[in-house]
C-alpha cells in the first residue's frame, strides 16, 4: 500500500533564510510525487511534480524539490523564504499500480519577517 508522511506539523523560518519541508513516501512501484500549497480558505494549488528524470525538480514561486530514491524522500526547498510563503504544504504520492493519489497530513510553514 502506498503512503506518504510529513513528519513536521509546523516549520518556522526567518524571511531570507532557506526553507525545507520534509516528505517521505512508500509505494510498491515507481513513485509519482507532488507538492501542493494551500492558503487559508482556498483550494490546494499545484507546485511541482516528479515523474521521472532529474532528481531536482523546479516548480512555481521559486520552489524546488529533491527526489531521493534511496531515502524514499521528496523534500520541498526554497533558497530564500518570503513572508508570503506562509501556508499549508501537502506532499502527495501516486504509484503506477494505483488509481489514487495519497496526500500527507500537511505541514504549516511560518515565515517571520
Amino acid at each position: 500500500a502506498q503512503s506518504v508522511a510529513q513528519p513536521e506539523d509546523q516549520v518556522n523560518v526567518a524571511e531570507g533564510n532557506p526553507l525545507t519541508v520534509k516528505c517521505t513516501y512508500s509505494v510498491s512501484g515507481n513513485p509519482y510525487l507532488f507538492w501542493y500549497v494551500q492558503y487559508p480558505n482556498r483550494g490546494l494549488q499545484f507546485l511541482l511534480k516528479y515523474i521521472t528524470g532529474d532528481n531536482l525538480v523546479k516548480g512555481s514561486y521559486g520552489f524546488e524539490a529533491e527526489f531521493n530514491k534511496s531515502q524514499t524522500s521528496f523534500h520541498l526547498k526554497k533558497p530564500s523564504a518570503l513572508v508570503s510563503d506562509s501556508a499549508l504544504y501537502f506532499c502527495a504520492v501516486r504509484d503506477i499500480s494505483s488509481f489514487k493519489t495519497i496526500f500527507g497530513a500537511g505541514t504549516r510553514l511560518f515565515v517571520k519577517a
Binding site: L44, F99, A105
Partner: protein
C-alpha cells in the same frame, strides 16, 4: 485553458437538512473527478471519485453521496446532514491518468448547526 468551479463558497445548514454541492470543469473532456473533505484545516480525506458519467466510487461509508450526471459535473449530496459533516469540501479534477497532478476548486466551507 481548464478551469474548475465550485459553489457555494460557504454554507450554513441545520442538522437534518439536505445538501447539494456542485462542481463543474471547463476546458477538458472525460476528466477524473474527486471530492475531498478537509477537517480542521489539515489532512485531506478522499470521499468519492469518478472516472466517467454515472461511475462513482466511494472511499468512506458515510452520510454523503455523489453523482456525475454530465461529463464535467460532479455533485456531492446528503439527504440529512449531521453535525459531523461540517468541514471544508474540495472538488478536484485530473486527466484520466492523473500523472499531471490535480487541479482543485476553491472549496466550500460547510457548517452544520
Amino acid at each position: 485553458s481548464q478551469t474548475i468551479h465550485q459553489w457555494p463558497a460557504t454554507l450554513v445548514q441545520p442538522v437534518g437538512s439536505p445538501l447539494s454541492l456542485e462542481c463543474t470543469v471547463e476546458g477538458t473532456s472525460n476528466p477524473n473527478l474527486y471530492w475531498y473533505r478537509q477537517a480542521a484545516g489539515r489532512g485531506l480525506q478522499l470521499l468519492f471519485y469518478s472516472v466517467g458519467i454515472g461511475q462513482i466510487s466511494s472511499e468512506v461509508p458515510q452520510n454523503l453521496s455523489a453523482s456525475r450526471p454530465q461529463d464535467r459535473q460532479f455533485i456531492l449530496s446528503s439527504k440529512k446532514l449531521l453535525l459531523s459533516d461540517s468541514g471544508f469540501y474540495l472538488c478536484a479534477w485530473s486527466t484520466p491518468g492523473g500523472w499531471g497532478g490535480y487541479t482543485f476548486g476553491s472549496g466550500t466551507r460547510l457548517t452544520v448547526v
